[in-house]
Symmetry: C2
């Protein structure tokens, strides 16, 4: 919150309730100090801050983000765009992200986008809040679409993508790049080391991360001489995967390893094998997931998986948001983090 924000507010509030100046007088501090007390980024002694907030609460004063956003032409809002918050990966990520952004004085606006037909409508809604950043967790939303949707606003766009940065879209959007090839190669090496010969991939079609993941997988399988039996559609989802594994098993040659595009679909595969098909995991079929969500450590699954440290992820996003706020004209930024194999009981 800038000093000009406070200035705007003072003007607005004349005759319309207590002002920052009223708080300053009552608390016997400067008006700048009142502004600092309400700014999470400003360092203020804890007891002094508490005193000012108490006095402000007593007077019924509060700063007004709407007034500030009008003056600064930028809000303190970060728009987070998801297709669902209900999956563990999204929930755990956005929880941790909200925590670090709050420390920087930013608040998280959640937008749920489900139907492509509504994208334009949703974009208009999001733009109306003048977000300081837009973080898109939607694999089927392309950087170009984001760029077109938010190109005229001061928003920034770290995309949680897995593609390496390409020359031709260097100026497109800021992105978080997850380097997953090494983690996947290590997982395949582990499978080869335990004598696995035939692997089935449970994919989430339409997602950019899925294509990159499958390419990395095919490469590693060739290197370690494991047959790639093909892919079935799991939609990153427990029930879809469970049904698909059941179907596949009854029709096709049976693999001795399954690699799933995320942990939730790995759980569906494990339950299909153990409870529906009577196949023991990992003895008869190994299962490896992706993400390392908390539930992967639950003993009933105890899933071997590939994951990126959650704090590493959200701190990288936080750096992009801060860097973009400091220089809106800078060339697009890329932070790269590495996915690692986490060995548990299913492979």
């Amino acid at each position: 919150m800038s000093e000009d924000g406070v200035e705007a507010e003072r003007t607005r509030e004349q005759g319309a309730g207590p002002t920052a100046l009223d708080v300053a007088r009552a608390a016997r501090v400067s008006r700048i100090m009142v502004s600092r007390a309400f700014n999470p980024e400003a360092s203020v002694r804890a007891d002094k801050r508490q005193h000012i907030l108490d006095v402000a609460a007593g007077l019924g004063y509060h700063p007004d983000m709407a007034a500030r956003a009008m003056v600064t032409r930028r809000s303190n809002l970060v728009a987070v765009v998801v297709s669902t918050l209900a999956n563990p990966w999204e929930a755990q990520e956005i929880d941790a992200l909200t925590a670090v952004l709050q420390e920087d004085g930013l608040a998280v606006l959640v937008f749920r986008m489900e139907h492509k037909s509504r994208f334009q409508f949703n974009f208009a809604h999001i733009r109306a809040y003048r977000p300081a950043a837009v973080i898109a967790y939607m694999d089927d939303l392309k950087p170009q679409q984001l760029r077109r949707a938010f190109g005229n606003s001061p928003a920034i766009y770290p995309v949680y993508g897995i593609h390496p940065p390409h020359e031709h879209d260097e100026h497109m959007v800021d992105r978080l790049h997850v380097e997953q090839h090494e983690g996947i190669a290590n997982a395949v090496r582990l499978l080869a080391g335990t004598g696995r010969k035939r692997l089935l991939y449970v994919r989430g079609e339409g997602a950019a991360s899925d294509i990159d993941r499958m390419m990395a997988l095919e490469e590693a399988l060739a290197e370690y001489r494991i047959d790639f039996e093909g892919a079935i559609e799991g939609n990153f989802d427990y029930a879809t995967t469970r049904a698909a594994v059941n179907n596949y098993w009854r029709r096709e040659r049976q693999p001795d390893a399954i690699f799933a595009a995320n942990d939730t679909s790995a759980f569906g595969a494990i339950d299909a094998l153990r409870f529906d098909l009577g196949v023991s995991v990992p003895q008869q079929c190994a299962v490896i997931g992706f993400d390392n969500i908390r539930e992967a450590a639950w003993q009933a699954y105890n899933l071997t998986t590939i994951g990126v440290d959650l704090q590493e992820r959200v701190q990288a996003l936080r750096r992009i948001v801060a860097a973009r706020a400091a220089d809106s004209q800078a060339r697009s930024m890329v932070e790269t983090i590495r996915a690692r194999l986490v060995v548990r009981g299913t492979a």
Copy 2:
């Protein structure tokens, strides 16, 4: 979005970029129609809406929520206050809530409050956004605190609480009341019917819902002549519960039924019994959870639990938010919904 909001925007935007009027002229519609096209609540033919949004995007026009909030003194933001988003219950609830509120043209601001020492600071931050409603999912935040924190703002406060409405705080806050006694009584009747004699409760101390849940449980246990062996602390958490059940089992007389304050702690109890203690579920010990989160249907747990239908919950909250928006002076509102027993494999 009201017409006066558009009016304010027009005034503000003179000489500062395209206006709603410019869009109206280019799209050959009225200015009111432009406003309606951007208002999710207004019924507008889909192709007409799309045309207007396309024209607006072409001109680089977007409505400005900050300007609107200044004029109307109320934002279209609903602040959702949680201690964490990372747990399945919160994630699934807020996902569904965000979807229905978006249909009403509202956007969800998520605030994560963890440390009591920061409550005042967080309240000030939330107030600054002039939320149209504050929905508190924090069991350790009392209605009185909410009232004090947001009493001077036009915010409203549906609290997701389980307490029945009390006479003396009728004017305190709007609330969603979950009637859970019948569901708990049915669960205990099921346990009695399968000959269970001694029950252990896994609680989440400090939560209002926990106290009500334990009272309902004790009542039902007395009625069905099952011994209440006491309570252990599970903190609504997998790992805490798993360790606590392990500890309890090695020290105390062993119960033949466990009732956990939420599903996630029930999973911790099941894994402690099966994998750490070699106790079969449900043969040697039944386990019942609370919430009926999606994961309760995963076959590895297949949990018998007590739950409130998710759509019922969020539609009730949506009604409170709408009713409060229509009449900010109305007496506090209470919506009551019922928790029901869902029988699966653990009891």
